[in-house]
Each structure stands twice: as C-alpha cells, then as structure tokens.
C-alpha cells in the first residue's frame, strides 16, 4: 500500500488533482487545502535508542513511570518502541517498531466516546479533550494500537520537579485518558509564529518532540496534503505501509519497511 486517505472526500479529490502534476503556490495552498498532519517512521533507521521516548515525556508532562507502574503494566508512554524477535540464537533478529497514536482517519476510538471527548479535527488530528473525558475507557478498548493510556492515579511530582512542567500542556488528572497529540501545542505555536510574520507554515517548521530528538531522522513530521513534503514523499515510497492496515483505520502514521538484505521471505511478510 502507498496512498494515504485524506480527511475529507472533497479535499481528497482536490489533493489528487494536485498530486496529478501541477505545482501549487503557497497562496493557493493557504486558500484551499488546509493541512493533514502525518508522520513517517522509517523502520530501517530506527535504532531503538529511546531518545523519542524521553523527549516525549519531558515535553508532554507525562508522569514518572515508577517501578510499580511498570510491573503493573500501568506505565504511560505516548510513544514506545516495541521490540519483536525473529528467529533463535544466534540468528535472532530484533525488530524495533515505534508506536504512537496513529491519528486515524477512521478512528475506532472516536465514535465510542459518550462524552465527545475524543474527536477528529479538520487537520486530521485525533484530539483528546481532557476536561470532557469521563473515563469510560471505551476508546482505549477500541484502539488496536494500545496507545491510549488511562490515569489510574493522580500524577505525583516532587515540588522541585514541578519547575520542569511544560506550561503549554495540561497535567492530566486521575480518571481520564491521555495520549499522543502530535505535540499540538507546537503545531499551534508554529501557526501563530507564521501568522505573526505573515507567512504560512512550511514543511519542516513543525517538529513534535520525538521527531526533533530522533538522532537518525527515522521520524519525519509534516503535511500529507502537501505533495512536496517529506512525509508525503515517504508515504509514496514503495516501502510504505500502515500498521494493522486490514483494520481500515486509515492511520496518519506511515511506516517504511525495514531493509534486510538477509531476510527470508517469511519474515518479509510480517511487515507488509
């Protein structure tokens, strides 16, 4: 698979026209298409170094995962690097898969929320409105990617660590679901910065914390409606695929297959 579904049919057809060949000016883009934020994850470049994991936690005020939380499987990590084993020693191969909220176009979490706390915005973000959330956890149960985290406890911060809390992100309280926002605070900041200098947001202006930290540039963020953005380029790669494609969720996160010169055909299938 390689094409990416757009947020609405109408804009999809317009985007298709554009992808058909002609270049669009910044002016036109500003006038017409809006954005569809997306991310690409090049599995071939992900080394499993965990820089994104810690970057996300410090940017988004994600609570400390105390040992007890980890053993209870209640640890929160908006982005995690899953590791899969292939084969046995000495031919064992570890495969890394960074998993974060996929910001699905057809998100299973959205229709089940009785409080409209989670919804899809016009730019393709799957938004969680914390103070609407009543904690039914229906959304987390519906999510095939297990990226929604429920707060079983109030987060505890020693007083001095409060100094590091990001003022742009709410500290989530007990009883609500939290998840990756694509660093929406950075998107909004970039938008305001662009508005102030009377320009538009350009490809590369926005980097969520994980993308900014990633030392191998495995993670790339951008506008899927911009046919010339890096993330669109990745989406059109012949290595591109979506996680659990068969679920039809239409994720905004595109994965690029691992390149393994020594791979057997069966292990290839795991990724496709």
């Amino acid at each position: 698979m390689s094409s990416i579904k757009s947020a609405t049919d109408e804009s999809a057809s317009r985007a298709a026209t554009v992808a058909g060949g002609t270049t669009i000016s910044e002016e036109e883009r500003r006038a017409g298409f809006g954005h569809r934020w997306g991310m690409s994850v090049d599995i071939d470049l992900c080394t499993g170094c965990q820089a994104c994991v810690v970057a996300c936690q410090t940017e988004n005020n994600v609570a400390i995962n105390e040992e007890q939380r980890v053993t209870e499987k209640r640890a929160k990590s908006w982005i995690r690097i899953e590791r899969y084993w292939e084969g046995e020693f000495p031919n064992a191969k570890a495969r890394y898969l960074p998993v974060l909220c996929q910001h699905c176009d057809n998100a299973p979490c959205e229709p089940v929320c009785p409080a409209w706390a989670t919804y899809h915005n016009e730019e393709g973000l799957n938004v969680q409105v914390y103070n609407r959330c009543i904690g039914t956890r229906f959304c987390a149960n519906g999510c095939p990617y297990s990226v929604r985290h429920f707060n079983f406890w109030n987060p505890e911060w020693p007083d001095s660590l409060e100094n590091m809390l990001n003022p742009d992100v709410t500290v989530r309280t007990k009883g609500i679901i939290e998840k990756c926002t694509f660093c929406v605070q950075r998107i909004n900041r970039a938008r305001r910065d662009a508005a102030q200098s009377d320009t538009v947001v350009k490809d590369g202006d926005i980097s969520p914390a994980c993308v900014q930290a990633c030392p191998t540039n495995s993670l790339v963020f951008g506008d899927l409606k911009d046919p010339f953005s890096k993330v669109s380029e990745a989406a059109n790669s012949d290595r591109a695929y979506h996680l659990l494609e068969e679920r039809g969720t239409g994720p905004a996160v595109v994965y690029l297959k691992k390149i393994d010169p020594n791979a057997t055909s069966s292990s290839e299938e795991h990724h496709g």
């Binding site: 994991v53 810690v54 400390i64 499987k73 020693f89 911060w157 660590l161 100094n163 900014q212 191998t216």
Partner: protein, 738 residues
C-alpha cells in the same frame, strides 16, 4: 508531593464564588497571586519562551543543546542544530537534563559530616564555614590529592593550575575508562587521541562490540551519521551501507546490524587477524596497500596461524562466516573497522583493539573519507577532556593511601568508591584519608564517605567550554552558559577553585576572577574571524553555542605492534566451576552509574529487553531451561569475587554459555530513585587488567543459582499473557488514599 487535578480548579471556582458549602476545598490562594518583576528582564516578557544554547548535561562525547526556558525555569532540551557534532539531535540522556536540574534530591547546601565516616549523616552548614574548613584541611595539607571526573576545556586548565598551586596530585576517574582503546590507537596509528570515525561516508562498518549507536564514545554524532550511512546517496558509494557486528552479547547496535555474529569472549583479536588472513591470501585488496602494513607488524607469514579454520573452534565463528565477512568488507569500500565495549575488556584487550584497528590500514581506508581519520588537535585554550587514570593507577592509589601518610582529598564529579575501582580497594582506602571534601550535584557512594560535601551547579547553571572528544574532523569549541539561575546554594567547581586559590595564595593568584571571565577571555582569544566589537562577538558565539572550523588534521603515525603479541585471554574462574561468561554492559538509560539518579532514565526501557528500574540478567532460553529458571525469577550470580542478585530475563541476546548484566545500579547512596536499587555488577568482576592498565571487566566467569523467589519484572513489553504467573498478584487499579 503535590498532585494536580482539574478538581482543584473546580474547587477553586467554587471557593471564589463564595459558596461556603464545600468544606476543605477552597482555592489555594497561591494560585491567585501573581508576582511582578522588579526589574524588567532584558530579553523577555513573562510567559515568553526563550532558548539558550549551552552544553549537554550528560557528556556522551560533548554535544551542544538549546534549552527552552519560560519565566526563568528550564523546560526542555533540544539539540543545537548549528553544532557540527550532534546536528540538532539529542539522546534519552540529553533529554533527562531538565529533570536532573530540578531533581528533588540535589545537594542544596554545603554539608558537614556528623556521623561515622561512611554513614552518610550530615548537617547543613554555610559556605563561609565550608570554605574555612576547606582552606584549613585541604589547603594546608602536606600531601593533597585532587580527584575529578574527565574535566575539559578551561576548567581542566583551572584544575591543573590549582593542582600545581597546592602541589596536589591530580587523578582523573571514569567508570569505564577508554585507556585500552587509546593504547590500541597508539599501537595502530601512533596517537592516543580518539579518531574521527567517518560513518557518514562509509559503506561498510565492521564493529567488534562497539555500541556506537547506543553508548560508545559519541553516540548521538554516530547516529546522525548513520542516517547517511543507511541511505543510498552518493555519499557512501551509492548504496545502503552494511553493518556487521561481532560480539558476545547483542548490544543496541548489534540489534541493528545486517549481520550479527556471535563470538566467544576474548577471541575478537583472532577473528580480526583471520579476516586479515583471508583478505591477504585471497588478494581481496591491492597488495601494494596491505603489503607494507603487514611488513610492519610481522609479515604475511605471521597471519598463518590465524587461517579461518584455525580460529573457528576457539572463537565460535564458523570459518565460512569469517571468509564471507572478509570478502564483504574488502569489496564494500570505503569501510571502517572499530572495536569497543566488551571486545576490549579482556586481559588481551589492547591487542584485540590493535588487531581490529589495523584492519583499516590493511584495506587502505585509514585516513581517508569513509574510514577512520585523525582529528586535528584541540585549541590551546579549550583542550579535550583529560584522559582518565587507568584502573592500575587507582589500585596503586588505594595501596598508597593505606600504607603511607594519609592524604587530604578534594573530589569533584567522580565516584571511585563505586564500581570496579571501589571494589578494588578505593572504597576502603577513602576511610584512611585525613580529610575528604567532595563536590557534585548528587550524593553518591564516594561522597557519603566525605567530611565535607559541597553542592555543585548543574551544567545548565554554570559557565564553561568544551572540546568534543572525539571530534568530527573539525576543530570544535562548544560553549556552556547558565540558562537559569540556580535555585540552590550551589557553586561551580571552577569558581570554587579560583576562590580557594586566591584564599591560599592571594588575590592575584589567577588571572581571572571567575569562570565566566576565564571562559569569555579564552573564547575571544581563540576566535579569529571578524573585527567586530568584543561584546558583540561574545554574544554571537554564545548564541550559536560555540565555534568550529575545518582544519588540517594531524596525520597518523606508523604502527608499532607485532601480530605475535596477541595472547590468549585469561578468565577469572574455571569453566568447570563457573559455567557462564559474565558480560556486563552499559544501557542507554542507566549509563555507567550517575544517570540513574533521574527517574526518567531509570524508567527508560532498555531497547532489547524493555527492562527498567532494576538489575536483570539476560540468559539464553536453552540455559534457562537447563537451570530451571524462567522470566522474573530472582537468581544468585556468583563470581570468584562475590555474589549478587538479579532478575532473569530470557533472551536470545547471549549464547548458552554466556550471561549479560547491565551496569549502573547498586548504589548504596544516591537519590530516592537509585539508592539501594539493583546490584553493581562491576564490583563483582575480577580485578584482572590488560596491558594498558584498564580493568578487564568482561573477563570474569560466573555461576547461577536460583533463589526460589520470583517477581513480576519491570519490563515495558507485554508478553502474550502478562499475568500467567500464579505468583503474580492482581493489579491494583485504585489508590488506597485520596
């Protein structure tokens, strides 16, 4: 502890409405108060983000970061995009810079010992009293000793100046010192400086145990170069580079290799020479390149003993594999061969390192793009970090302390009582010191033995400069500036030495009054370009985080090593009594010890096991069955030097005759998050040394005994059925307290 909540806000509104109904839930008044600045800060308005470039808190070779600050508080670490080493990128450890800055257990004021030495009992005192004590006990001591971490830049010059002023001996401590690698560099290339490994332009990396993507030397720099290495741009010959990793325990880098090859510990030198044998005998490279090198190290015939079929049984690497690697390596040029981590931690480590590095000369990539290149020397004003003293030096130091007249010690940013040096006698020797003053941001095993503990500023709170080591082939000077005002009563080590120096000798003892002045003067005298006003230049340099330029690198010297000097490795413990090779390894999160102070790094999953917070032991599935242990079991690991406990993690990362244990835990003293947690595996390795004097930390054998106890393991991953263990208690979903 404070917990946040929406409820507090709702309660706040209710309180402000004058509804007296909800008892005990009034709006906290502090949230309604808002303070005005007395003086308007020059560059900022309240609520506005300001970014400052400074040095990374966790060295990892020396990187520059940009810190986001809001209202005088640091919020977030980003890479400095202008800086040529890390190119705007960071690591998990860099990201933990802010939580370590605001760590609740940082030493806040000077502390004076009240209990027995080593009890860790202290009382708070003022700086005046502390300085008087320091001048009296250290300044007037007849044989003072200065112990520091690997200080560099202007601070290393200040430290050297202070050491000569007080006629102190100066020892430099590093937990896993790189003296073996430097000795191997000297044997192979005639320099002890770390080279620039040009991964970006390479098309083949042959790595013996070097975890260059995770923890080895300058991992962020290597990771940024790895992007180019794996791309198929013209930079590296037009195709995706191939990574071959040969090691006894799969490291993070090994897990990314195209070919991961298991090798028996201590046999890396033989395999390297066997690869050389294949290259030479099958004429895979031009003999005009390999011939002269071979003649310098013993001639072609010296390789005869290392034919692939001869080394395959000892090394465990099939002859076919050796020949395949040799062919690939020779045909994918430029390529680079490196050795690090457990490969060098053997009694023959120096020879192993030399044999591997010489492969670069044999295939002719030494000194060229995509190979291993010499670095230009650092600037005079900002030297590279001081090289660490070897393990042998520390053993000698411990012996001296015990036998001769006791010395007064001033320790900064070092923990020699922890790990291998601690177990080798330094911990005991500290007990006989006449006086110990220790300075650092956190309590540790060494500082707990001190008579006086001084709070040091965090790297984000002090002035400094640094020369990355290894550099990237350029001359690079990074600058460090305080991005926030310290909330604690702390001082920088450089400023302490300057103050102390002028107390002891007189006001004009040192040309500069403070580190700030010293760093500024140094930077401006190093800066050559432009004729702008000094202050403008200084601000501009701080803004970009330093200065860098291309320079003609020093050239490599001739090899000074003979193939015949490769010896068999020695191991502590016999194979009969101690069934397993014990391979300690460094993880991204725990580091070599100090990183685990920060809860976010304790909770950073190890890439391969997703383990956090504890000391675990990686066991091959076959041996686990044989031993009758399973995931989560607590086992007793016994080496000839003692025994410790670890939790079993069954993984295909090690051979059936090998176990691997992460280093960095097992602190007796520290912060709330790392104190008394896990085991310090390095203190149980046998104190074997190699010819370079470093401890051979991978040359110990061990045996395993089940304790019968078991616990849920703190791994991030979900197994198919995470709660299939009967001993696993049901998960608590609500808290006992509100």
């Amino acid at each position: 502890m404070t917990s946040f909540g929406r409820r507090r806000f709702l309660a706040g509104v209710a309180g402000a409405l004058g509804s007296g109904l909800v008892v005990g839930c009034a709006a906290p008044e502090r949230e309604s108060r808002v303070q005005s600045f007395v003086l308007s800060p020059e560059q900022s308005l309240p609520g506005q983000s300001i970014w400052f470039a400074t040095a990374d808190a966790h060295s990892q070779g020396g990187n520059s970061v940009v810190i986001r600050t809001v209202d005088g508080r640091a919020k977030k670490v980003e890479g400095n995009p202008a800086f040529p080493i890390n190119l705007g990128k960071t690591s998990a450890r860099s990201q933990a810079g802010v939580p370590s800055l605001y760590h609740p257990d940082r030493i806040a004021t000077p502390l004076k010992r009240t209990g027995e030495r080593g009890s860790g009992e202290f009382k708070k005192i003022g700086w005046d009293e502390a300085l008087n004590l320091l001048v009296d006990k250290f300044g007037n001591s007849s044989s003072p000793t200065l112990i520091t971490g690997r200080v560099g830049g202007t601070l290393s010059r200040v430290t050297k100046w202070f050491a000569s002023l007080t006629s102190s001996r100066h020892l430099v401590h590093e937990s896993l010192e790189d003296s073996t690698l430097r000795a191997a560099m000297h044997n192979a290339f005639g320099t002890r400086e770390l080279p620039h490994i040009d991964i970006a332009h390479s098309s083949y990396i042959l790595s013996f145990g070097a975890d260059f993507l995770g923890t080895w030397l300058s991992p962020i720099s290597y990771s940024t170069q790895y992007t180019k290495f794996r791309s198929n741009t013209s930079d590296n010959g037009g195709h995706r580079g191939t990574l071959t990793q040969i090691e006894p325990h799969m490291s993070l880098t090994g897990s990314n290799a195209d070919n991961w090859v298991h090798i028996n510990p201590g046999r890396e030198g033989e395999v390297a020479l066997s690869i050389a044998h294949t290259i030479v005998h099958e004429n895979l490279v031009d003999p005009a390149i390999s011939g002269p090198v071979l003649n310098q190290i013993g001639g072609k015939s010296a390789l005869d003993a290392y034919a692939p079929k001869n080394v395959s049984s000892t090394s465990g690497v099939p002859a076919k594999t050796i020949m395949k690697i040799a062919k690939e390596f020779a045909s994918h040029q430029p390529g680079v061969a490196i050795a690090g981590g457990p490969a060098l931690a053997h009694t023959n480590g120096e020879a192993i390192g030399t044999a591997v590095l010489l492969l670069n000369r044999i295939i002719g990539s030494a000194g060229s793009d995509g190979g291993i290149k010499p670095n230009p020397s650092a600037t005079e004003g900002t030297p590279r970090p001081l090289q660490a003293n070897t393990f042998t030096d520390w053993v000698d130091f411990a012996t001296e302390m015990n036998s001769q007249s006791p010395s007064a010690l001033l320790i900064y940013d070092a923990d020699p009582a922890y790990g291998a040096t601690g177990a080798a006698g330094v911990k005991t020797a500290l007990g006989s010191a006449s006086f110990i003053a220790a300075m650092g941001p956190f309590m540790n095993d060494t500082y707990a033995t001190a008579d006086l503990v001084l709070p040091a500023t965090h790297p984000f709170e002090q002035w400094g400069d640094f020369a990355p080591d290894p550099a990237n082939g350029q001359v690079v000077v990074g600058l460090q500036q305080p991005v926030v005002t310290s909330l604690l009563d702390s001082r920088s080590f450089g400023d302490l030495l300057i103050t102390l120096g002028s107390e002891l000798i007189g006001k004009d003892a040192f040309p500069w009054k403070s580190m700030q002045e010293a760093v500024k003067t140094t930077a401006l005298s190093t800066y050559k370009g432009g004729a702008e006003a000094k202050d403008t230049t200084w601000v501009e340099l701080l803004r970009q985080g330093g200065m860098w330029e291309n320079a003609t690198p020093a050239s490599f010297g001739e090899p000074s090593w003979q193939i015949s000097s490769l010896r068999e490795p020695n191991f502590a413990g016999t194979a009969e009594n101690y069934t397993f090779h014990l391979i300690p390894f460094e993880t991204v999160g725990y580091g070599t010890g100090d990183e685990g102070q920060v809860p976010f790094l304790q909770a950073t999953p190890d890439a391969l096991t997703t383990m956090t917070w504890t000391t675990w032991v990686e066991i091959n599935p076959k041996s686990a069955i044989k031993l009758g242990v399973k995931r989560g079991d607590i086992v007793d690991i016994e080496t000839p030097s003692g025994s410790f406990e670890a939790q079993v993690y069954v993984a295909p990362t090690v051979a059936p005759d090998t176990i691997a244990v992460p280093i960095g835990q097992g602190h007796r003293f520290g912060s709330r998050w790392n104190k008394g947690r896990g085991s310090d595996v390095l203190s149980f390795v046998h104190p074997f040394t190699d010819t370079a004097g470093a401890v051979a930390w991978a040359a110990t054998r061990a045996r395993i005994q089940a304790t019968g106890r078991s616990a849920q393991i703190p791994a991030f991953e979900f197994t198919e059925n995470p709660r299939n263990d009967e001993s696993d208690p049901p998960v608590r979903v609500t808290s006992e307290q509100h």
